[in-house]
Subunit: 422 residues, 2 copies
């Protein structure tokens, strides 16, 4: 018999019993309840602290741990895959329609199963370091073509290693947080001083990001074939980008203020275990990767991704791109193994962004830079058009895996642009 | 009468009563004493937790705070300049030869004044984000000449903004920690695949780094004329760099694995208040900076800097460069103001590296890349020579301000190269 939850899960819900993504929530009204871990199920959040206090985590790894009495998931992430599997098995059983322990305990249900609209989601992890990769070949090719022309748009190093830069951890915010338009310098025109003021080329970047589990000690690289055990799960990410600031500052040391004003992540971390049924082959890599990047099994995931824009002052949202996680050239595990090959240490809760996920067709590009070809064409949004984002525009990223009669989804990752401060 | 300490301070000591730098120490032998804040005085460390427990911090800002009962300085940094000034005044008084409170209390002295060789210094701060600037014009010019030739070696943006990249926070280590030679990819030769193995161009970079105080909220830039209140102090820093890895990976997103295998900082944070007597004019900037970078007073500091190398298997160290902090083109306060102009938030304990500090003469260059002109000439070290660092080599950076009869010094920042793991 198929696994079903005793809690109602509507057919289009992202949060079936096959998903059970982890987040950190607080009550909207009851401020005496400290922020704590929960999993999403249908339109509810299950309070893991309450479940632990009720002694319903009966497995050996979780029962004695205080990881669900924390205000972030880092302690749980540190425990590693055996504990993650144990927690998942416990929760799938507890929530299943055939299990009475929670289903038939009205007072515990009342306490532990909270309607989603009564909670506010917080950043689920304390992020020590955030790295952003550049793993979509279509994105790399489009950026190269826009900035350097159609001949050899992709640098030769790109095919040998997952290119990345260190991002800014402090300005990572949870979905729903307004994004203040950054001010900064842009390229001078002629002999004038550089432009200074609010960015005139504000963009989003559709990305996903891996959340690191146990990590490694300084000096001890993680083998690519063991890298999956260091990835707890995945979130949606919007790497907001000010293209004018970025273009002027990035030579020779890479993106800095063009990116560091804000990065939005979705509240629910979907685990690799939940994504496993949606695993698919990663693209064939030519030239073949060096041995330290050559995986026995090279996996992508079939995750449909979509970006909607709700233009300032309008009620309607418009889908501007549809793409898929499986377009990535470098896998999450290759990214992680590469990151540590020099001995760099990863810590629980570190975030590894994939880079903008663009597909091959122009309707599947993952940012406005590509969609409007650096502002040379207009994108139509109902009665209005855009080259870049305007104040009041809201960008909503969503992602979902479609199973047989159920979804394993990510919910949304959204943010609205508000004007620069004077 | 000049301020003198009741503790013996030898004439060449870096740690006069005019200095009083902050660090975190633990006892080498007594593991029941938790890591805690201390200040250096002569050959001693003063235990600030013991002084606080003895109620000798009698000012209003520190007396009620638990900031000196922490295992890092972040809580103290968050308090801001008024608290830093209060603590400094209290400690200068307590340690002065005219003040009996500590001097004449033998049991407290015994407990709170520890010989330096009985303690081990730890990383003094929890570093949320680490940024590395590129603020020496001589360094920028040399790097540009080496990699792009002598015509226009410095990119035009360099003169308009303090160029920087996000660094890796997790791999920052305290002076004395061995540095494992990183492995990684280097440029392919001809049609071969890229080189892979231990770096063959391992380098140091002589830098200093500012330690951020209170910081700012996301979206609220710090005015350049108020930026000094957000800098607690300064440390020595060695931004170890693998030039072969860096050269192959850095286009287009900047340095990544060529830097992230390790960054060493000195244990003692010298405060801006202690450096104030050594303030000097910053260089005249042409073109003039944009208004947000134009300071009413533009300060550098006269800090003599020196790098010694102790080659593998030898007992003797050789001074390979002598330079000065005052060679920096962009000031610490300009760096900090620029960092936040886009709204990026800084947090207490964030680290802002200056970039390699090279002077104008070839004996004042701050890294081997410059000193050996990317390995095209040999550097003589007694009976041996180097183009880049070899396993077993130790690099020792030191820095000191010479006052009238006293020093305000940084001690040393050292690290030894150990071989890559197989
Ligand atoms: Ca990105
Ligand atoms: Ca550097
Ligand atoms: Mg961003
Ligand atoms: Mg480094
Ligand atoms: Ni419990």
């Amino acid at each position: 018999m198929a696994l079903t939850a005793f809690v109602e899960v509507k057919p289009d819900s992202h949060f079936s019993i096959h998903n059970l993504p982890y987040g950190i929530f607080k009550h909207r009204t009851d401020s005496t309840v400290t922020p704590r871990p929960g999993v999403a199920i249908g339109d509810y959040v299950l309070d893991l602290s309450a479940i632990h206090s009720a002694a319903l985590f009966d497995g050996p790894l979780i029962s004695g741990s205080d990881c669900f009495h924390q205000s972030n998931l880092n302690k749980f992430l540190e425990l590693g895959r055996p504990a993650w599997k144990e927690a998942r098995a416990t929760l799938q059983k507890l929530l299943s329609s055939t299990e009475p322990a929670l289903q038939n305990n009205a007072s515990l249900r009342q306490k532990a199963l909270l309607p989603m609209d009564e909670v506010e989601m917080l950043l689920p992890i304390a992020i020590g370091d955030y790295t952003d990769f550049f793993s979509s070949m279509h994105h790399a090719k489009n950026c190269g073509t826009i900035f350097r022309g159609p001949e050899n748009p992709i640098n030769p190093n790109w095919f040998h290693l997952p290119i990345a830069y260190h991002g800014r951890a402090s300005s990572i915010v949870i979905s729903g947080t307004d994004i203040i338009r950054p001010r900064g310098q842009g390229h001078p025109s002629g002999n004038s001083p550089p432009y200074f003021g609010p960015s005139r080329k504000l963009d989003f970047e559709l990305e996903m990001a891996a959340v690191v589990g146990p990590g490694n000690e300084l000096g001890k690289p993680i083998d690519v074939n063991e890298a999956a055990d260091h990835i707890f799960g995945v979130v949606l990410m919007n790497d907001w980008s000010a293209r004018d600031i970025q273009a002027w500052e990035y030579v020779p040391l890479g993106p800095f203020l063009g990116k560091s004003f804000g990065t939005t992540v979705s509240p629910w971390i979907v685990t690799l275990d939940a994504l496993e049924p949606f695993a698919c082959d990663a693209p064939n890599q030519i030239p073949p990767p060096l041995p330290y990047l050559a995986e026995k099994v090279s996996k992508n995931y079939d995750i449909s991704l979509e970006v909607q824009v709700k233009p300032a002052g309008q009620e309607e949202s418009f889908t501007i791109t549809r793409t898929n996680f499986n377009h990535l050239y470098w896998t999450l595990t290759q990214q992680l193994a590469h990151h540590t090959i020099n001995g760099c240490n990863l810590r629980p809760g570190d975030l590894l962004g994939t880079g903008t996920i663009s597909g091959p067709e122009s309707e599947s590009y993952g940012c406005l830079l590509e969609l409007t070809w650096n502002g040379t064409k207009e994108l139509s949004l109902g009665k209005t058009t855009r080259k870049f984002l305007e104040d009041g525009d809201e960008v909503i990223i969503s992602g979902c895996c479609k199973g047989n009669g159920y979804n394993v989804g990510f919910g949304t990752c959204s943010g609205k642009i508000v004007p620069s401060m004077p």
